[in-house]
Structures are given as structure tokens and as C-alpha cells.
């Protein structure tokens, strides 16, 4: 198969999960790109040094070229020197950002793939419990927060600190006293900005919350448009929206006020430092403690020492957000995967299909058994029908066969061998499942039919399967035939059509064991007959478990199990069960009662 993506260094999720603290975990997420990242940091330092160099050189230029009147080739050389320094600064700053971006994009891409794979290999129990939206959020927006952290925030913090250190060192070179005086304000600015951004981020959250309120309001109004119109409640709705809208306006104003106070106030602080230091430096220059060139260098360097500190507060506040996202991501990674290949028994001649349940019990939660002490046996190729109300344990029982869940007590034998000895992957390749309303993927109908196939499948084979599943004619009615897309971008299939696509899918896989959810209540009678025939074809020569809703479809089953509250209350063939008093017979009798009631109903009309 042609690949449309490049490879990248592998990373074991366990090393990330095993990290003791957040920063170590982040570091491990970047493994394979550590070199890039360190190089990026180095380039950052070079860039900052070159920038400081430009100012120092400017001072030297004033002192030694301009004041000493060396206007010959030295002037031209110095001018070239400036261009050279800027070139170094620009190039290293580009490389630094580029390397950081590469690290961030590459490691988040790997993380995305890792999460995708991890999530699809988590156990059924996990998926049953977790909310799709939450999982999606973790795999998309939390990952994106991490990406921004690696590419912007971590680099940003490093940049500000590096620039500070290098500019400070440069000023130290000019004059120690000047350097020390110039950073008096720095701790103040830092503390103020951290406090401010912490407060700001709260106000921002409040603003976002109101945004969500507005969205909900709008969505309810739009989806309930018939109700709004039916009760002629437009004015009421407008007033309600107005209230929420105005609340958002108010919160926005508050946020705005905070911004409009912080920036000028911190500006003033910084400027006070600037003025103070500059006066000192100017006096020093007059007194000959430093040169004029030193003064000019200093004024340039000073700006880079003070202003960036204001943003440090924001970056630090953002860091805490990244750590929260990281925690949410590692929580998912920490959940153990389903060991798909665990188990060693793969029969040489393939699976035959005889199954026996030996005192099987099963519970999702401790002490709340869903299945209790289930024992029965069936031969290869036989049909077992499961009958019972919702929650009686039918679905739980069939979920045990492909080992979506494992038994809590007892054992299930397939061809005499405990299920737990078969690798899950192998086992699942032997079992076909057709659900009442099967899940189809938003790809073409052909891709859906060949979804379970590991080999190339010819068009003839696909069509043959579709014909046997009584769906071929329906597919041919679509403009694009088998290439028609399913879902939002294509056609919406009815429940019965989806079921027949799933039957075709299962026919191709040709499994030894079949699990059917036999409910045809959502289709008209003609389709019902077609589906029934398709199912008959599918069941030939396979051990079949039917979750049955109607008696007609199970009369010919080799074994009927009647469930009630997790236990088998009746079992046997139709002929035997019909002899016993019990649930089975009463269900059976309903059919005849319906027929006579209908006749009565019709007769009543005629009499009138």
C-alpha cells in the first residue's frame, strides 16, 4: 500500500506516563527531537547575543569611528559589520523558531497518532464509561495546548530569560553599578504581571463562560424554532437573548478595563526605571565614567532588559494551563490497552465452532452480577437463540464471545479450549457481528463492505456479497453506485439498509461464528422478508447466536435460551419449550391471540 506520510522516531507511551512530574513528561514527549530543541535554545542565545552585540558595536562605532574620525575604509567595514551582526541575529532567530516549531509539530503529530491508536485499543469497559466528547477534547484541544506550549510558551520563557541574562551581562561589561541599578524594577514588574495575568485569566474564563451561555441560548432558539413560532414568543426570546448578550458585553467591558489599566501602569513603571537609569548613565558619560558610545549602547540594551519582563507573567500563567492539559492527556495514556495478541492457541485447522459455557458468571461492577451461572453447549453450525427482556443479560452474553469482556467466573470453551487461550485478534477474526442498527463509517459503500478485509477484494466479490445480502439493487440506484459516500457527505441509509450492508460485510469475512441482533421492527414488510432471506444465507454452516425479539425467527433454532435477570430460566428446542408452561409458551400464544383479536376488530366494523 502506498504511504502518504513520513516515518518518525518511535515513542513508548509508558515512558511518558512513568514520568514523575509534568516537565519531565513534556521532555519525554519530545524525545527524538531533543537535539532540535537544544539547538533551538542555542540559536536563541546566539540571536540574543548578536542583538546585544549590535548595540555594543553601535557604541564602539561612535567611540572609535565617529569620534576618532576614521571615515575611510573602516567606516565602510563597520557598516558592513552591522549588516553582518543583523544577519547573524536574524538567521539564528529564524533557526531557533524553526527548530522549535519542528519539535512542537513533530512531537504533537506523534502524540496525536499515539493517542488515536491508544484510544482504539482501550478496553470495551473503558469506552462504555467514558464520554466521547471528553475523549475528543483531550485528543484534540489538549494536545494543541501542549503544541503551543512547546513551540511558543516554553520558547518564550527561555527567550525572555536569555535576553535578560545576555543584556544584563552586556550592561555589566559597560558598568557594574549601572547594571545593578537598572534591574531594580524587574522583580516588581514580574510579580505585578504574574498577579495581573492570573486575575485576567479568571476574568477571561468568565467571559468565555458567558460566550458558552450565548451559544446554548442561540442553539436552543434555533432548534426550537417551531415552538417559538407556534407560541409567537419572538419578543420573549429576543428579551432573553438580550439579557445574555448584555451580560457578555458587561464582562467584556470588565476584561477591557483590566487591560486598559495594566498596560499604561506597567508602562509607567518601566519608563520610571528607564528615565532613572538613563539620567545616571548620562551623568556617568559626562563624568567620563563611561564613554558616549557606552551610553548609546546602554540605552539600546536597557529597553530589552525591561520591557520583555511584562510578558513573562502571561507566559508563566499559560504554563499552568499546559500542565493541566498534559495531565488530562496522560490520564488517557495511563489506561491499560487491551492485549490483542496475548494468548497462544491458534488451531491449525481453524475454528470449528462448538461452544460450551461452563458455569459462567459476569459482572461489570463488583457484586452486581449481570450473568449468573450460565451453562449450555452447542455443536458447530448450530443456532442458539437468546430470548429475554432488556437488561436480562443477552447482550452481555454475546459480548463475552469476541472477548469484548472476559468472564468473571467459570469458563467458555471454543472447540474445547478456553477462550482466554485464543489471542483476541484471532478470535475476533472468527466471529461476525450484525447489529440491529450497525455502525457504518463515512467512506464509500464499497469501503464499508470490505471494511473487515485484510486482502484486496475484487468488485465481483463485493457485488456478490451485496447481492446475497439483498442490498445490491439499492446501491445501484444511487448515482455513484458502490462509490457513494455514506453519512453526512453522502447518502443517509435507513436502518434496514445499514443492516444489509453489515450482512454483506460479514459475508465477505466469512466467519465461523455469527452474532445476530435480529430485530426487523424498523422496516416495512417487503424489506423484512428480504433481510430474513439474507440472514438465512449468512447463517448457513455457521454457529449462530441470535438475540431474538420475535418468536417466528427462532422456531427452528437448535437451542433456545430464555433469560430473566441474568439467569437462564428455560432452555431447549421450540417443540420442547412449547410443552412447558412458562414465558416461552405465553409469548408463543400471543401470536394466535393477535390474529383472532384482529379478526374480531375487522368483524366489528362489518357489523356496524
Amino acid at each position: 500500500m502506498k504511504k502518504h506520510y513520513s516515518e518518525y522516531p518511535p515513542l513508548d507511551p509508558n515512558t511518558v506516563v512513568a514520568s514523575k512530574n509534568g516537565l519531565t513528561a513534556l521532555w519525554r514527549l519530545m524525545s527524538g527531537y531533543h537535539g532540535h530543541y537544544l539547538l533551538s535554545a542555542l540559536m536563541l542565545a546566539i540571536s540574543a547575543t548578536a542583538r546585544a552585540g549590535i548595540y555594543l558595536f553601535l557604541g564602539w562605532f561612535v567611540d572609535h569611528i565617529l569620534k576618532e574620525s576614521r571615515f575611510g575604509s573602516e567606516l565602510l567595514l563597520s557598516a558592513a559589520g552591522f549588516v553582518g551582526l543583523i544577519l547573524v541575529q536574524a538567521t539564528s532567530s529564524f533557526l531557533s523558531n524553526q527548530l522549535a516549531a519542528q519539535t512542537a509539530e513533530s512531537s504533537t503529530r506523534r502524540l496525536r497518532d499515539m493517542l488515536f491508536d491508544h484510544i482504539q485499543r482501550l478496553s470495551f469497559a473503558y469506552h462504555a464509561e467514558v464520554k466521547t466528547g471528553d475523549l475528543l477534547e483531550r485528543a484534540s484541544s489538549d494536545v494543541d495546548t501542549l503544541r503551543r506550549f512547546i513551540s511558543d510558551q516554553a520558547v518564550g520563557v527561555a527567550r525572555i530569560i536569555t535576553i535578560f541574562i545576555i543584556n544584563f551581562t552586556a550592561i555589566m561589561q559597560l558598568n557594574t553599578q549601572l547594571a545593578l541599578v537598572s534591574i531594580i524594577i524587574v522583580p516588581v514588574i514580574l510579580v505585578v504581571s504574574i498577579l495581573f495575568f492570573r486575575k485576567l485569566s479568571k476574568a477571561y474564563e468568565a467571559y468565555q463562560e458567558q460566550e458558552a451561555v450565548i451559544s446554548t441560548n442561540l442553539q436552543e432558539n434555533l432548534s426550537g424554532v417551531r415552538v417559538v413560532k407556534a407560541f409567537a414568543r419572538q419578543t420573549f426570546e429576543i428579551d432573553k437573548f438580550e439579557k445574555n448578550n448584555y451580560e457578555k458585553y458587561k464582562r467584556g467591558r470588565k476584561l477591557n478595563l483590566m487591560h486598559s489599566l495594566f498596560w499604561p501602569i506597567s508602562d509607567t513603571f518601566c519608563a520610571a526605571q528607564l528615565v532613572g537609569s538613563n539620567i545616571l548613565a548620562a551623568f556617568m558619560a559626562i563624568d567620563g565614567v563611561i564613554t558616549l558610545g557606552n551610553y548609546i549602547s546602554f540605552t539600546g540594551l536597557l529597553g530589552w532588559l525591561i520591557w520583555p519582563i511584562r510578558n513573562l507573567g502571561r507566559l508563566i500563567v499559560d504554563t499552568s494551563r499546559a500542565l493541566v492539559s498534559l495531565k488530562r492527556v496522560t490520564e488517557v495514556l495511563r489506561v491499560a490497552q487491551e492485549p490483542l495478541l496475548e494468548g497462544s492457541y491458534i488451531p491449525a485447522q481453524g475454528v470449528q465452532g462448538s461452544i460450551s459455557f461452563d458455569h459462567v458468571s459476569f459482572a461489570y461492577e463488583k457484586d452486581r452480577p449481570v450473568l449468573e451461572d450460565i451453562s449450555f453447549e452447542c455443536q458447530a453450525g448450530q443456532v442458539v437463540a437468546l430470548l429475554g427482556s432488556t437488561g436480562s443479560g443477552k447482550t452481555s452474553l454475546v459480548n463475552l464471545l469476541p472477548r469484548f469482556y472476559d468472564v468473571t467466573a467459570g469458563k467458555i470453551l471454543l472447540d474445547g479450549v478456553d477462550l482466554r487461550e485464543y489471542p483476541r485478534h484471532y478470535l475476533r477474526s472468527q466471529i461476525g457481528i450484525v447489529e440491529q442498527e450497525p455502525f457504518l463509517f463515512s467512506c464509500s459503500i464499497r469501503d464499508n463492505i470490505t471494511y473487515g478485509m485484510t486482502r484486496e477484494v475484487s468488485q465481483e466479490e463485493v457485488e456478490e456479497a451485496a447481492r446475497e445480502a439483498a442490498i445490491h439493487d439499492v446501491i445501484m440506484e444511487f448515482a455513484n453506485g458502490y462509490d457513494t459516500l455514506v453519512g453526512e457527505r453522502g447518502v443517509t441509509l435507513s436502518g434496514g439498509q445499514k443492516q444489509r450492508v453489515a450482512i454483506a460485510r460479514t459475508l465477505l469475512i466469512n466467519p465461523r461464528i455469527l452474532i445476530l441482533d435480529d430485530s426487523t421492527s424498523s422496516v416495512d414488510m417487503e424489506t423484512e422478508v428480504e433481510i430474513r432471506q439474507a440472514l438465512q444465507t449468512l447463517m448457513e454452516n455457521r454457529t449462530t447466536f441470535i438475540i431474538a425479539h420475535r418468536i417466528q425467527s427462532i422456531m427452528s433454532a437448535d437451542l433456545i435460551l430464555v433469560f430473566d435477570q441474568g439467569k437462564i430460566v428455560q432452555s431447549g428446542t421450540h417443540d420442547r419449550l412449547i410443552q412447558q408452561t412458562g414465558i416461552y409458551r405465553s409469548i408463543y400464544e400471543i401470536q394466535t391471540r393477535i390474529d383472532s383479536a384482529l379478526q374480531e376488530e375487522i368483524d366489528r366494523v362489518h357489523v356496524l
Partner: protein, 609 residues
């Protein structure tokens, strides 16, 4: 919240249309004072910014070089004073512009929402909800962004560039020309970069939405993925998507990284030239050292406004595209309006007649064809027939959610087009198949039927509907929160509440779309009971699925292909042995089966009768 967008909303090279831009700026009108104040403040800020450089020059030339400490103190005092003035200006411009931005957002949202209330049902049935949502949320955001920070950044950039240019020209015009010549090159490069970056950024957003969709599908379909052992192949498929995301996202980051250094390099060339030519000028005494330093500062500073300008231009493309969509929504005509001389009447009690009514959404595709029938006041009508036959359309016509393309609908003898919409819709009570509740309490939801109802009236209505019992079993009773869209309640409970809501509104005409989904037997009986209460003393139209409802109706209309296939009462129709007979016997079986079946977990038949 997930945002919805069409993929072609992310296309490049949207032309900036001047008429759209003009209209966009006209939304600023109510806020012109704040904007003007903000612009004045930002002009002051940028003037002072440029002036700082002049001050620094004077400090060097008049203070340090002339060894004059008094001058230094004086100049720095001015410097400090200007800092304070500038701080005040910064406060005003951030505050005023922010205020104006919130104001514009508020106005746009309000206008859109209010306009949406007037649009007809057919608009909502053809426009995806997500599309409308994006217009109100994200598009208004982009418009406001351009109208505030876009305007301000442009003002700042323009003033900075112009003022710097003037100062440079006054210091030394030959050197200034060198800088000014490099400006267009920088602006052109900045613009090219911005547009390329946006292009890749859009691609990455597209890739991201595909990636999320794929992940979503894999989670919701995990059972099939596991059963069919698709893990490895799905991972490979996903890798294709995630690497597409990687490529465009990295490309955008790469260009961003290259952007500033490139502009800087262009400026470096002019800086080198200035220092070389400037050095010679210093020798000739044509420029002071301070003046030369000022030039260096200007060159380093001018990078920022240029990058701002490029960004605003690129944003403008987005904002104009957003505006176009928003304006197209605002320009959508309501479709259903009151006629100029429409009358309001206090009551709609009277016979209802459809006279040769036809309806079509599109030319040549009639949904309803030449429909005529008459219902005496107080009677009940059951509409039955296959899905898509036109039952819902008939009800929508009656409520005047749609208007007939041909023919007349008369209520109490009057053509209902001569009545106001308000009259008709406030006198019709509707209970929908999938009941819609609003977030809030049960009480608020029932009160929706009559806004000035007392608590007692609400309780009475709930009692009549048979909802009182289950409501009082909630911890907070009538104040129980129903959740978003009412999803904390069961379908049956929602239906009972919507019946109570309809009872409270005391309509002359009652319309109900019976639910096909199964509810438990007790709730079912309660609903039947509530419906009967509602049906007494008023004309009712029921899209019916339940045998008892159908049999009890005064008149049954079998609707197929937009026409009345059969009509009459139960007995008459049974004797015909036609469509109704078949539908009825089929439904009879289904209903009895689910009633008698001890395992009645299968949903009741949805084949509609």
C-alpha cells in the same frame, strides 16, 4: 464548543469588495465617538513615540556631548512628563477601542438574533443550524476584530511611519530617502509572507477538522473497529490525516519564523547604508551623533508598524468574507410577512377549510397538490399515511409556518392571509413529536404557553396534562432544572410538559404530532389522557400513530403523495379495504405485539399509520 464551517469558507484570495467593506464600517456608526477618541489617543501615542527618539537625540547632542547636566535633567523631566501623558493616552485608546469592540459585537449579535426570529420556517429547514451558529458567533467576532484593532493598528502604523518619515526628513533628508526607499520593499515582503502564512494556516484548519472527524468516528464506532480488527489500518489512515495536518501546520510555523528575520534583513541593508553614508555626513558636520542614533532607532522601530499593516490587510480579507456571510443572512427576507391590511381577531373559533391548496418548495415539485377539506369547529382530524406523504406540511400550512403556493386556507370563514401572524400563531397550540424544551426550570417551560400565568395556573395546567405527579416527585418540584434542551427528562416527561404548556396557552386550534418512539405504558396512558383534555372544546389536528387516537377522531384523512387518498371515519375507511385497512391492520399487529409481548423492548413500529 465546536465550530462549524464550510470548507470553502476557508478559501484563499477572497476579493475585498469595497461595498461590503463600506457596509462593514457603517456598523461602527453608533460607536463613532469611542472610535474617534481611540484614534486620537493612538495618534498621540505614536506621535510621542516618535518624539522620544528626538528627545534621546537631544540628550546626546545637547546634554552629554556638551557636558550639560542641567540640560539632561531638564530633558529627562520632559521625557518623564511625556511618559505620563502617553500612559494616559494608552489607557484611553485601549479602553475606548475595547469598549467600542464589545459594543460592535453586542450590536451584531443582537441584530442577527432579532432578524433570525423573523425568518420563516423554510429558511431553517434548508439552512444547517451550525452554519447559522457560526455566523452569530465566529463571524461577528472577526468583524469586530477588524473594526477595532484593525482600525487602531492601521492608524498607529500609518501615523508612526509618516511621523518617523517627517522627523527623519528634518534631521537629514538624504539619509531619510534611503530609509523611505526601503519601505515599499518591506511592505511588499511583509504582505506576501502574511498571505502565505494564512494560506497554510487555513489548510491546517481543514486538516484538523478532518482529523477530529476521523477520531470521533473511530471512538463512536469502536465496537466495529474491534470486531473487525481494523486497528492497524485505521491507525495508518489516521497517520495520513495527521501528517497532512503536520505539513501545513509546520509550513505556517516555518514561514512565520522566516517572516520577521526577512524583514529585518531588508532593514539591515538600509541600516548599513545609513551608518556608512551617515558616518561621512558626521565627518562633514551635516548630522550629529545623536541624529545618527535617531536614524538607527527609527529603522529598528519601523519594522513593527509594517508587520502590523500586513497583518491587518490579511485579517481584512477574512473579515470581509465574514461580513459577506453575515450580511447575506441579514438580507434574507422573512418570507412570511403580515399583509399590509392584516387584521387581528381575538378568537379563531370556527370552521377550518382548505380550498384547493397546493404547496411546493421548488418549481414543479409539489409537496401538496389540490388539497380540499373542511373541518367543523370543535372536531378532531387524524392525519395518517406514509412518511414523506405530506402530513407535516399540512400542519405547517395550518400554523402558517408555510403559506400555500395556490389555494386558500380559511379559518372561521376568513382567508387566513388576511389575519396577522401573531393572531394565528398565538391561537394555535402545538405539541411536537420530539418535544423541545428550553434550559431552565419546569415552571419556566410550562409558562412559555402564557407568560403572565400564575403558579396556580401552571400547576392546574400540569394537573390537566397529567404531569403534576411526576413533577412533584422531583427534588425541586416545579423548579427542577430540565437541562439543556430538556435532556435531563425522559421523552415521555418532555411530552407531558409540552402538553401542559399547550393547555396553558388555551388555544382555539390544537395541533399534535404524535410520537412514534415508545414510552412506558403508564406515561403513554397519561399522554393519551392529556391529549383528550386538550382536544375537548377545540378543533384539533393530530398526525396520528396510535390506534386509539385514530379511531376516536371525527375524521381521518389518509395522506399519500401530497393528496387525500381516503377520508372518512374509522368504520367507513375499514369497509373500503384500501390503504387505511392495510395501515390499520399492520399497526394493530404491531401495537398488540408490543403490548402483549413480555419482552416489549423492541421499539414500537415506526411505519406510520
Amino acid at each position: 464548543m465546536s465550530t462549524y464551517y464550510d470548507e470553502n469558507e476557508l478559501d484563499d484570495n477572497v476579493p475585498i469588495k469595497s461595498n461590503v467593506l463600506k457596509r462593514l464600517f457603517s456598523t461602527l456608526r453608533p460607536h463613532w465617538k469611542a472610535l474617534l477618541g481611540g484614534v486620537i489617543a493612538i495618534v498621540v501615542v505614536s506621535l510621542l513615540d516618535a518624539y522620544f527618539t528626538i528627545l534621546s537625540k537631544r540628550i546626546i547632542d545637547e546634554g552629554i556631548i556638551l557636558q550639560n547636566k542641567a540640560a539632561i535633567l531638564r530633558l529627562f523631566t520632559i521625557y518623564g512628563a511625556i511618559v505620563l501623558v502617553q500612559a494616559v493616552s494608552v489607557f484611553f485608546f485601549v479602553y475606548l477601542v475595547g469598549l467600542q469592540g464589545e459594543g460592535v459585537r453586542y450590536d451584531l449579535r443582537k441584530n442577527l438574533f432579532n432578524h433570525l426570529q423573523d425568518l420563516s420556517l423554510s429558511y431553517f429547514s434548508k439552512t444547517p443550524l451550525g452554519w447559522i451558529m457560526s455566523r452569530v458567533t465566529s463571524d461577528t467576532e472577526k468583524m469586530a476584530e477588524l473594526l477595532t484593532w484593525g482600525v487602531i493598528d492601521t492608524a498607529y502604523a500609518a501615523v508612526s511611519i509618516v511621523v518617523s518619515a517627517i522627523f527623519m526628513l528634518t534631521i537629514n533628508w538624504q539619509l531619510a530617502i534611503i530609509v523611505l526607499l526601503s519601505l515599499p520593499v518591506m511592505i511588499y515582503a511583509a504582505l506576501k509572507f502574511r498571505l502565505r502564512i494564512y494560506h497554510h494556516y487555513r489548510l491546517s484548519r481543514k486538516a484538523n477538522s478532518r482529523m477530529t472527524a476521523s477520531l470521533n468516528e473511530n471512538i463512536t464506532g469502536v465496537r466495529v473497529v474491534k470486531a473487525l480488527r481494523r486497528e492497524d489500518r485505521n491507525l495508518n489512515d489516521f497517520k495520513v490525516l495527521s501528517s497532512a495536518m503536520y505539513r501545513s501546520s509546520y509550513r505556517a510555523a516555518y514561514l512565520s519564523a522566516l517572516f520577521q528575520p526577512t524583514i529585518q534583513m531588508i532593514s539591515a541593508v538600509s541600516l548599513g547604508l545609513i551608518l556608512w553614508r551617515g558616518g561621512i555626513k558626521v565627518e562633514l558636520g551635516a548630522i550629529t551623533i545623536g541624529g545618527l542614533q535617531a536614524f538607527v532607532s527609527y529603522i529598528m522601530m519601523i519594522l513593527w508598524p509594517i508587520q502590523d499593516l500586513a497583518r491587518v490587510y490579511a485579517d481584512m480579507q477574512n473579515a470581509v468574507a465574514s461580513s459577506e456571510r453575515v450580511f447575506s443572512l441579514i438580507d434574507t427576507q422573512p418570507g412570511i410577512n403580515n399583509r399590509p391590511d392584516a387584521a387581528s381577531v381575538p378568537s379563531l373559533a370556527g370552521d377550518i377549510a382548505f380550498e384547493d391548496v397546493s404547496f411546493r418548495y421548488e418549481e414543479d415539485e409539489p409537496v401538496i397538490r389540490n388539497l380540499s377539506f373542511q373541518i367543523p369547529y370543535g372536531q378532531s382530524v387524524a392525519l395518517v399515511g406514509p412518511t414523506g406523504g405530506g402530513k407535516t406540511t399540512i400542519v405547517n400550512l395550518l400554523c402558517r409556518f408555510y403559506e400555500p403556493t395556490e389555494g386558500v386556507i380559511r379559518i372561521a370563514g376568513k382567508d387566513y392571509m388576511d389575519l396577522t401572524l401573531q393572531t394565528i400563531q398565538s391561537r394555535i397550540g402545538v405539541v411536537l413529536q420530539t418535544p423541545h424544551l428550553f434550559s431552565g426550570s419546569i415552571r419556566e417551560n410550562i409558562r412559555y404557553g402564557k407568560l403572565d400565568a400564575t403558579d396556580q395556573e401552571i400547576e392546574d395546567a400540569a394537573k390537566l396534562a397529567g404531569a403534576h405527579n411526576f413533577i412533584t416527585h422531583f427534588e425541586h418540584g416545579y423548579d427542577q432544572n430540565v437541562g439543556e434542551g430538556g435532556n435531563l427528562l425522559s421523552v415521555g416527561q418532555k411530552q407531558l410538559i409540552s402538553i401542559a404548556r399547550a393547555i396553558l396557552s388555551n388555544p382555539d386550534i390544537f395541533v399534535m404530532d404524535e410520537a412514534t418512539s415508545s414510552v412506558d405504558t403508564l406515561t403513554e396512558a397519561l399522554i393519551q389522557n392529556g391529549m383528550e383534555k386538550l382536544m375537548t372544546g377545540r378543533t384539533s389536528f393530530i398526525i396520528a400513530h396510535r390506534l386509539s387516537t385514530i379511531k376516536n377522531a371525527d375524521k381521518i384523512l389518509v395522506i399519500r403523495d401530497g393528496q387525500i387518498a381516503e377520508s372518512g371515519n374509522h368504520n367507513e375507511l375499514m369497509l373500503l379495504k384500501g390503504h387505511y385497512y392495510r395501515l390499520y391492520t399492520q399497526q394493530f399487529r404491531h401495537e398488540l405485539e408490543s403490548k402483549l409481548d413480555p419482552y416489549s423492548d423492541a421499539p414500537a413500529a415506526s411505519e406510520t399509520i
